[in-house]
Amino acid sequence: MTESLTLDIVAGKMKEFGNAEQVRKNRIRITTPPDRVHEAIRMIQAIFGFDRLITISAVDNGRTLELVYHLTGPHRMVVSIAVELPRDQPAIPTTSDILPSAAIYERQIHDLFGIQFPGHPRLTKIILNEDWPQDEFPLRKDWEPHADTFYGGIRKERI
């Protein structure tokens, strides 16, 4: 276990990507614009040795879609890189080329929130069945099942 990181070090190095804040002990959150996420992750990997992606969380907060990349490393510090995406046509470059384990989370988010990840090798249905209707993203707040749509599996009137 190496030296634990403090907010000051991380904030200093990552200043150009956005402001960092200490959410709680050993959690740091950096808010950054969408187009810089790739760069920020590569930077944080290179400087601090963050070698593992815990997860990518997606949140629909009603106005925008938020993505939070949680990374950790040998110093056992969790750095969360948060971005906000517009609700219409949300897209963000994939990180699966630098973080292989991100591919599976990105596909999941693509399914449930409809966020596009340009550059992703295979962005097909992962969590929903193949015959799930296009353009319906069940974890968005405004999603309502339609009575006349077939969602695959069991018809709605039988749910």
Partner: protein
């Protein structure tokens, strides 16, 4: 996924269509619905496609519509084996957002249940792994000894699977001195059995021959593919949330992170059974040093606005609940990243170039919990033709080739 193409060895110069063995969603080796389309060459796996979407239940959506009292039973039902893990991870996150200080007795009780759960999960896994290699005796024995753990949990919580011990602010049931004594009374016997299994895992030839060198994952790969839990620790990655980010009573109890350098199924088996030994230590410590005091604090109905990444070391690995609240009595979003989901990438990687006979063992080695996961992965970028071929094609192919061992 681009990573796969490097690992796939080219087929040995034949234009024959590839044989696709479709395993699952109903198959005796699989305890839960999952589908593998395994492309094989003789008995060797060329690559595989996983399809895990058979029981998506929309729990994350359902959780957004329930208040904090009613969401905990739902969280428990994410998974049967690690039910306490999910409900504790969630309760822990909500409590942190609410800034509640949980009484130490509640912390200890949660720890006891969590470690009992880990122990029963690991014993169950050992049994399943033994069953998958046809060693049914060990399967029966581990499950027999697992009953002792289950009985303890049942006595404490009232149920064998869905313990229902957690609520926001503490635990629901207290441990009576009689229960503590009974639980402590069961431990020596259990310890003896677990030590026996440690011996068996290390020296039993019939297991060594099937587990050694199967599904190997180096430390770099384990990190790269984001593996968690015993799978990662078997490859020498000493990530354990209980040490890295101590919660409950893990900071007090004497225990150490178990790692192994083998990185194969054998290593994962050893890590799991050693972890069961560590669990015993924690349980004994917690039962003996159970602090007095209340078991819960009153929790407010509403949680303030906030977000938290609640990490928990479930039996299968790191479980992460990302919780966002919005000031009401419901969560705005709970994003559950289960350990199995994190481990799938590595499974797909280590299956390549192994034998068909090893599929169940390798898949089981991460202790997959599909009811937690329920996702699809289709791991190949290359557009090679992989139709499910007709039987005639198969027989023609098989007749035309030498079917000796390769």
């Amino acid at each position: 996924m681009p990573i796969l193409s490097t690992a796939v060895s080219g087929r040995r110069g034949s234009d024959m269509p590839e044989v696709v063995v479709s395993i699952g969603p109903h198959h005796p080796a699989l305890k839960e619905p999952v589908n593998f389309k395994v492309v094989v060459d003789g008995e060797k796996i060329v690559r595989l496609e996983l399809d895990l979407s058979y029981n998506h239940r929309g729990i994350e959506k359902a959780a957004e519509q329930r208040d904090f009292v009613r969401v905990l039973p739902l969280m428990e039902r994410v998974c049967g084996i690690c039910s306490h893990a999910h409900s504790t991870a969630f309760a822990k996150g909500i409590e942190e957002i609410m800034q509640l200080e949980i009484p130490p007795r509640a912390q200890y009780i949660r720890t006891i249940i969590a470690e009992l759960e880990r122990m029963h999960s690991h014993l169950l896994w050992l049994g399943v792994a033994a069953h998958l290699i046809g060693f049914n005796t060990l399967f029966m024995w581990t499950w027999r000894d697992r009953e002792a753990v289950q009985d303890t949990v049942e006595e404490m919580s009232g149920n064998r699977v869905h313990y229902g011990m957690n609520e926001v602010g503490g635990v629901r049931r207290d441990l009576t001195p009689a229960q503590v004594t009974a639980a402590l009374g069961r431990l020596p016997n259990l310890e003896e059995r677990i030590n026996k299994y440690v011996d068996m895992v290390n020296y039993e030839e019939t297991m060594l021959i099937r587990f050694r060198g199967v599904g190997k994952l180096s430390k770099e790969e384990a990190l790269r593919y984001g593996t968690v839990g015993p799978t990662a620790r078997a490859s020498g990655v000493d990530y354990d949330i209980r040490k890295d980010d101590p919660y409950l009573a893990y900071a007090d109890a004497p225990w150490s992170v178990v790692t192994d350098t083998n990185g194969d199924v054998y290593g994962r088996t050893r890590v799991r059974i050693w972890e069961a030994q560590e669990s015993l230590k924690i349980i004994r410590y917690c039962l003996e040093n159970l602090p007095e005091g209340p078991i819960r604090v009153p929790a407010p109905k509403h949680a303030p606005k906030g977000e938290i990444l609640s990490r928990y070391e479930a039996p299968r690995g790191e479980l992460a609940h990302f919780i966002r609240t919005n000031g009401t009595d419901k969560v705005e979003r709970v994003d559950i990243r289960t350990p199995t989901l994190a481990n799938w990438t590595s499974v797909a990687m280590c299956l390549v170039n192994q034998n068909i006979a090893d599929i169940p063992v390798i898949v089981a080695a991460i202790d997959p919990c599909l009811s937690c996961t329920s996702r699809i992965t289709l791991l190949d970028k290359r557009t090679k033709r992989t139709d499910i071929i007709s039987f005639d094609d198969l027989s023609r192919r098989m007749c035309s080739r030498d079917h000796g061992q390769e």
